[in-house]
Symmetry: C2
Subunit: 219 residues, 2 copies
C-alpha cells in the first residue's frame, strides 16, 4: 500500500521529527481508538504525542476522515490475511470453512478499534478512497473463493456464490458487531459457544440439500 505510492526518501536526515509521519499517525490513531475510543482521537492530541504540530497531519492526509480511511484500509488487509490463513490452515475442507467464520468474529473481537472504523460509518465516501475499496473487495473475494471451493465439493448449495457470500458476510458481520458492542451479556452463556453455534447455523443454512453427511454424489 505505501511501498508503491510513497517513495523512500534517500536520506531521512531526521529532519523535524519523523521519517514516516504518515505511518506514525495511523499507528497512533489505532492506539488511541483501542485504548480510549474513537471519540478520543483528536488531531491535536495525536500531534502532541508524536512531538509534532497539530496541523502536521495535513501534509499527509486531506483531512481527519482520510486518516480513519487509512485505518480501515489496514484493517481490511489484516482481515483478509486472517481469513486466508484460517482457510488454508484447514486445507479448504468443511472444517476450514467453519474456522474461517469463527476467525472472522475473532478478528473483530481482537481488533475492535479497526473493525469499528471499518464499519462504523466513519468513512461514507468510499469512492474517494480507492485503496479502501480495493482492500474491502479483496477480503470479500476470499469469502467468495471459499464458497466456490465448497460448491465444488458439493457441500454448499449451487447458487450464485456472490449471493451466498453476501448472506454469510451479513451473518458473521452482525454477530461481530453485536459482540464487540457488548450486546450479549454474561447470562447469555459463553460467547465462544454462541459464535460456534451461529457459524454452525450459517453452514446449515447454505448446505447442499442432500449432502449433510459426506457422501459421493450421483452423476
Amino acid at each position: 500500500m505505501t511501498s508503491p505510492s510513497v517513495p523512500i526518501p534517500k536520506k531521512p536526515r531526521t529532519r523535524y521529527h519523523h521519517g514516516d509521519l504518515r505511518r506514525a499517525l495511523v499507528s497512533e490513531a489505532v492506539r488511541t481508538i483501542r485504548e480510549e475510543g474513537v471519540d478520543a482521537l483528536t488531531l491535536r492530541a495525536a500531534g502532541k504525542r508524536l512531538g509534532v504540530s497539530q496541523t502536521a497531519l495535513y501534509r499527509h492526509f486531506p483531512d481527519k476522515a482520510a486518516l480513519l480511511a487509512a485505518v480501515a484500509t489496514e484493517g481490511f488487509r489484516m482481515l483478509r490475511v486472517t481469513l486466508d490463513e484460517a482457510w488454508s490452515h484447514g486445507r479448504g475442507g468443511i472444517k476450514a470453512f467453519h474456522a474461517m467464520g469463527v476467525a472472522y468474529v475473532r478478528f473483530a473481537r481482537l481488533n475492535p478499534s479497526h473493525y469499528r472504523v471499518m464499519f462504523g460509518g466513519f468513512v461514507d465516501d468510499l469512492i474517494a478512497e480507492p485503496e479502501l475499496h480495493t482492500e474491502a473487495s479483496a477480503a470479500f473475494q476470499s469469502l467468495v473463493d471459499a464458497i466456490v471451493a465448497q460448491q465444488h465439493l458439493r457441500v454448499v448449495r449451487h447458487e450464485d456464490p456472490e449471493q451466498v457470500a453476501r448472506f454469510v458476510w451479513a451473518a458473521v458481520h452482525g454477530l461481530a458487531m453485536l459482540t464487540i458492542d457488548g450486546r450479549f451479556g454474561k447470562h447469555d452463556g459463553p460467547i465462544d459457544d454462541l459464535i460456534d453455534y451461529a457459524v454452525t447455523r450459517i453452514r446449515t443454512g447454505i448446505a447442499a440439500e442432500r449432502a449433510t453427511t459426506a457422501r459421493a454424489p450421483r452423476r
Copy 2:
C-alpha cells in the same frame, strides 16, 4: 414511555416557547439525523430551530448522549411494533416468520436514522438508560416468542430458543447494517432479492431436521 413519567402540566399557559420541549427535542433530533446525518446534530442548532436557548436541553436531559438514548428507545419500541405486526398479520405460521425477518430489515431501511442511533455505538452506557434496555429487551423477546411458537409447530430446531434468537438477530442485524451503510452496490442485484434470499437461508439454518416439508412428526 412519556405518559407515566411526565405529568401533563395543568395549564401550559405558553410559558417561554414550549409545552413539551422534551418531545420536541427528540423529534428535532430524529429529523436532523435523517436529513443531515448524526454528525450534524448539535444542541445549538436544535435549540435555535425550536426557538429556544442552546442550553435548554439540560432541563430535560443530563447530556447529549441521553437525547440520543431517547431516540434509540423510541426506535426499539417502533421496531417491536413492526415485528409484532408482521408476525400476527401472518397468523404465526412459517410465512409469518419470514415476513418478520423481512420486516426487520425494512424497518432499518425506512428508519436508518433511528437504526444507526440504536446500534451505532452512541449509547455505550446501557446501564444508565434503563428505559432503553427495557425496550431493547422487549423487541428481542418478540423474536424469542416467535421462535418458541415455531418450535411448537415443529418447524424450528428444538434448541435453546434464546440462542436461536441470538443467531437470527445477528444475521438480520448484519444484513440491515450492511444495507443501510450502502455496502451492496447496484451490480449486486436488487436489494429486495438479497434480503429475501438471506431470510430464506436463515430459516433453512434453523429449520427442524426432518420437517423441511410440512408433515406430521412421529410422536
